[in-house]
């Protein structure tokens, strides 16, 4: 049978606030265990939560970024369960009245097609600490540095149909939240963690099948692999006439498989009820509008603008708008050199190529946008050829100076002096009389080949500095 996969994603996004959501402790990643845990984070007796306004601000920002309804009154609830890294014995979350309601955003597939994915809700909650099972001699260590870190849990509609869409969704989400500046989006440090809800149904069916929830799939690649694996597992069961158990499964990246979590770990009645230590979060239109006004241009808008303003194709526009620093960089290069298409090409091919090889980020790129723009300007004003520009770029990357300095130092100035080129062309033609004769006898196709030969000879003699366009023009005049 043909199966359709139905996927919904729950993303836990760490918000980039400086302090925790209910205490003043810092949220810096990687500190010594328990050095960033206050009496509130440790749930010492009598301690009370105080809501960090920045977390609310970021949640609203996200809601506006996906065109969602912002709740003017949202409520924190206690989600009760026992676990050693959950100090209070409950997590403060939002259950019945989340701060962000329904919204949606567009994802772009590699083939250029796009889809709209619905967002069911997004709510604020606190992160738990970490249980460390190694290095404690069969005991478990508890690190509460992460406890109380603000999370925005973003729940999608079951609108996703395959692994590629899931990855595209996550990438688009990543792009959006980093644009908004509400999260560092660092997946390796757990800033974006994903639970995948997945079910199968016969192609064409409109009812949902029984789903499994795969927990803690924490990279784009693992999301893809986990979905592939889970699809196969469920399809095998269904093909054999079996039934899917609604359960929580854990993705094991080492073995590339999902396995059922023991029922004990998941059979919880969370006993949600409104958190009596916090007042409902009440915000007004003025607050919402002030955040709306502070919104940056979002990826989708930027993409459209790049297409319209610079005449870029959808693929180029998508790549260049993926992150705000890259988009800003591209626009600065284009502004400096005045030719957006060449700028787009250089940024995507040369710059991103170098960055990928070096494993660097655009923020720490050794070649500034202005410097790259100037280099491109030297191509456009015929100072150097495109080929030479690539060499110059390599040197710029190594920190040898700006484009003009390198061109000057290495004597790479393109020769556009007609007299000088004319002399070289004459030398080449007289030294290759046989080929000239062949040219004169040849048909159009063969002539092209021979012109290439003459150009090559001229460039060789000029050490690559002759302006190729002028060489072509001179040859055309002389070979009659």
């Amino acid at each position: 049978m043909q199966w359709e996969t139905v996927i919904g994603l729950e993303v836990h996004l760490q918000l980039a606030t400086e302090s925790k959501i209910f205490s003043g402790s810092p949220t810096t990643f990687g500190a010594e265990p328990n050095t960033q845990a206050s009496a509130v984070d440790l749930a010492m007796p009598g301690m009370l939560p105080v809501l960090n306004e920045q977390a609310v601000h970021y949640a609203v920002k996200f809601g506006l970024g996906i065109g969602a309804q912002i709740s003017k009154r949202s409520v924190f609830d206690r989600k009760n369960y026992f676990y050693p890294d959950l100090p209070k014995g409950y997590q403060i979350s939002q259950f019945e009245a989340p701060i962000v309601g329904k919204g949606s955003f567009e994802i772009l597939m590699e083939d250029g097609s796009s889809r709209t994915i619905g967002i069911t809700r997004a709510h604020l909650e606190e992160d738990a600490g970490k249980s460390l099972h190694e290095d404690f001699n069969n005991h478990t260590g508890i690190d509460l540095n992460r406890a109380g870190t603000p999370l925005l849990e973003i729940v999608s509609e079951p609108d996703i149909r395959n692994a590629a869409e899931a990855v595209a969704y996550l990438k688009a989400l990543h792009s959006l939240v980093t644009y908004l500046g509400i999260s560092d989006g660092n997946m390796a440090e757990g800033s974006m963690r994903c639970d995948v809800n997945i079910s199968l149904r016969p192609m064409g069916s409109t009812t949902l099948g029984t789903r499994a929830e795969i927990k803690n799939v924490n990279s784009f690649r693992f999301v893809e692999k986990a979905i592939h694996h889970e699809f196969q597992r469920q399809a095998d069961i269904l093909e054999e006439g079996g039934k899917i158990t609604q359960e929580t499964r854990l993705y094991d990246a080492d073995r590339d498989e999902t396995r059922s979590m023991r029922s004990k770990e998941v059979a919880n009645d969370y006993r949600y009820f409104p958190e009596p230590d916090l007042l409902p979060v009440v915000i007004d239109d003025i607050y919402i509008e002030s955040i709306r006004e502070s919104l940056p241009e979002l990826p989708a808008d930027k993409r459209s603008r790049f297409t319209a303003q610079y005449g870029l194709g959808p693929y180029d526009a998508n790549v260049l708008s993926d992150s705000r620093p890259l988009a800003d960089y591209f626009e600065a290069v284009a502004g400096e050199c005045g030719d957006a298409k060449i700028a787009a090409n250089w940024v995507q091919v040369e710059l991103l190529g170098q960055l990928n090889r070096a494993g660097g980020t655009i923020e720490k790129c050794p070649v500034s946008a202005t410097a790259l723009g100037q280099l491109i300007s030297r191509i456009l004003d015929n100072t150097i050829s495109g080929k030479m520009a690539k060499q110059v770029f390599e040197s710029m990357w190594k920190g040898e100076g700006d484009a003009d300095e390198i061109i000057e130092a290495r004597g790479l100035l393109q020769v556009s002096d007609t007299g000088a080129i004319d002399a070289i062309v004459n030398d080449v033609l007289s030294a290759n009389a046989a080929q000239v004769q062949q040219y004169l006898d040849a048909d159009e196709a063969k002539r092209k080949k021979l012109v290439g030969f003459f150009v090559g000879q001229v460039m060789k003699l000029s050490k690559g500095q002759a302006n190729p366009q002028m060489v072509n023009e001179l040859l055309a005049k002389k070979l009659i």
Partner: protein, 488 residues
């Protein structure tokens, strides 16, 4: 010295009739000599108390003193005290020494008050007799065979027994007012949000409120002046302006309208207790107040409503006591489940466990709507009853408890009859209103408490009514025989 009121002590310290060290020493000696009768203190740190008193004397000498500088005050063992064990009456926290002060403690410290000691209480403030304390019951100074009431029983007994001039308590369903009534002292539960809850071990977050317990309304006003005020670290603390609660104590009661809810004078009220209350009301009437009969129609639902909401909140507030980070931990747990279950089984007493179970049940999937949600709806109706009445009257008055203090052990095996003790006090917490209890007479040598209930943030008015009553009566000045020994 020990019979002096806070107001007299304030004056004496100002006028250098005696020093804070002398006053503190006197109370410490009395605790030493007499508290074996009452068991009202769990922890007394003499050295620290005297050191604080010494510091207060320096402040008094340098002229930087404020009203409470040098006054020794006993605190219920539910307030976290930096460096001093805070047990909350439980084995669970028998070894717990907080590294921080509750906001209330901090305020008293910065005012220069002396922390005399930590008083006995029902375990986690759950009880009406102080019998659920891990440290054994406190006893009533009027008759040590009687309970002092609860949960702030130790504070009430300490003040009644003249072991402290004043004390703090907390009141979730009557825990200041009921022991104040039983021990013949004055106690005030402020409006919810008037006093910070930060650093008070939580029982039921939406109901808990700290307040003063002392001999007189005037003394309570002195304490409330220090305790009340917004705390940015308690999100439920009110930003409403505070007042000088001493300033209007003497205001006339002419024209005061006092509401008498028929539900508080009906079946269940001990006849002799009712007579004391009626006599007290006559006194208020004599001062110009008008008595107005009225009704709080949802009163009958108060106990079931309270006993859903309070245990529900308690069940999750007490989840943090898991043996992982502080407090009691069972010996040699074999695994996590064993750690949790034995720690909590051994660390909590019966009443606490009962309420955790009730609260957990009330919040469970499938029962939440029928219990917790319904209870919250009724809570709104109960509040509306009061709001309705306050359109016609300024203050509501009635008995604090259905009868005077009962014998130790009389109700300890019957939780529901124990819960009835709070029938007149619970609604005040559900509605978040201020309420107080003041001595209004005796039944067979046992004190009777008059309860006053006011509008939100009307503490000054309640204290004014109580003070005027106390100007005309001497119930609050009586001293139990047991406290007359050990005089210096």
């Amino acid at each position: 010295m020990h019979t002096k009121s806070v107001a007299q002590l304030v004056k004496g310290l100002r006028e250098r009739q005696f020093s804070s060290v002398e006053v503190t020493r006197a109370y410490l000696d009395r605790i030493d000599a007499l508290d074996s009768q009452y068991n009202s203190f769990i922890t007394v740190d003499e050295a620290a108390a005297l050191a604080a008193a010494g510091g207060a004397d320096e402040r008094l000498a340098s002229g930087t003193a404020n009203a409470l500088t040098g006054i020794p005050i006993a605190h219920k063992d539910i307030f976290c005290t930096d460096g001093v064990r805070t047990s909350c009456g439980s084995r669970m926290l028998d070894n717990f020494v907080p590294p921080y002060d509750a906001t209330v403690i901090q305020r008293f410290k910065s005012a220069g008050a002396v922390l005399l000691g930590k008083t006995n209480m029902d375990e986690f403030a759950m009880g009406s007799s102080n019998e659920s304390s891990f440290y054994g019951p406190a006893r009533n100074p009027w008759n040590t065979d009687l309970v002092p009431g609860g949960s702030s029983g130790g504070s009430a007994a300490a003040v009644a027994g003249l072991l402290a001039p004043a004390a703090t308590g907390t009141d979730t369903g009557g825990s200041i007012r009921q022991p104040a009534a039983f021990c013949g002292i004055t106690g005030l539960k402020p409006t919810y949000g008037r006093v910070s809850r930060l650093g008070i071990v939580a029982f039921a977050s939406s109901l808990d409120q700290a307040g003063p317990m002392a001999h007189s309304a005037e003394d309570c006003a002195f304490l409330l002046n220090t305790m009340a005020g917004h705390d940015p670290l308690d999100s439920t603390s009110s930003t409403a302006a505070t007042e000088d609660y001493c300033a209007t104590l003497g205001d006339s009661l002419e024209g005061l309208r006092i509401g008498l809810p028929t539900e508080y004078f009906g079946e269940g009220l001990d006849v002799a207790t009712g007579e004391c209350i009626n006599n007290a009301l006559k006194e208020l009437e004599a001062q110009g107040a008008t008595l107005v009969e009225m009704s709080l129609p949802h009163s009958a639902l108060t106990i079931p409503t309270y006993y859903i909401i309070a245990p529900a909140e308690a069940s999750t507030n007490l989840a943090r006591f898991d043996g992982v980070r502080y407090g009691y931990r069972c010996e040699n747990p074999v695994d996590l489940h064993d750690l949790y279950s034995r720690t909590r089984q051994e660390g909590f007493g019966e009443e606490v466990k009962r309420r955790i179970l009730v609260g957990t049940y009330a919040l469970s999937a499938g029962y939440y709507d029928a219990y917790y949600k319904k209870a919250q709806q009724i809570r709104r109706l109960i509040t509306q009853d009061f709001m309705h009445c306050f359109e016609q009257v300024d203050v509501i008055a009635g008995p604090t408890t259905p009868g005077p203090a009962f014998a130790l052990g009389a109700k300890s095996n019957d939780p529901t009859s124990m819960y009835l003790e709070d029938v007149y006090t619970l609604a005040v917490n559900l509605a978040g209103l201020p309420g107080m209890s003041l001595p209004a007479g005796f039944v067979e040598g046992k004190p009777v408490g008059l309860q006053l209930i006011g509008r939100h943030f009307s503490e000054a008015r309640l204290l004014n009514v109580a003070h005027r009553f106390q100007q005309a009566t001497d119930w609050h000045l009586r001293t139990p025989d047991s406290a007359k020994g050990g005089t210096l």
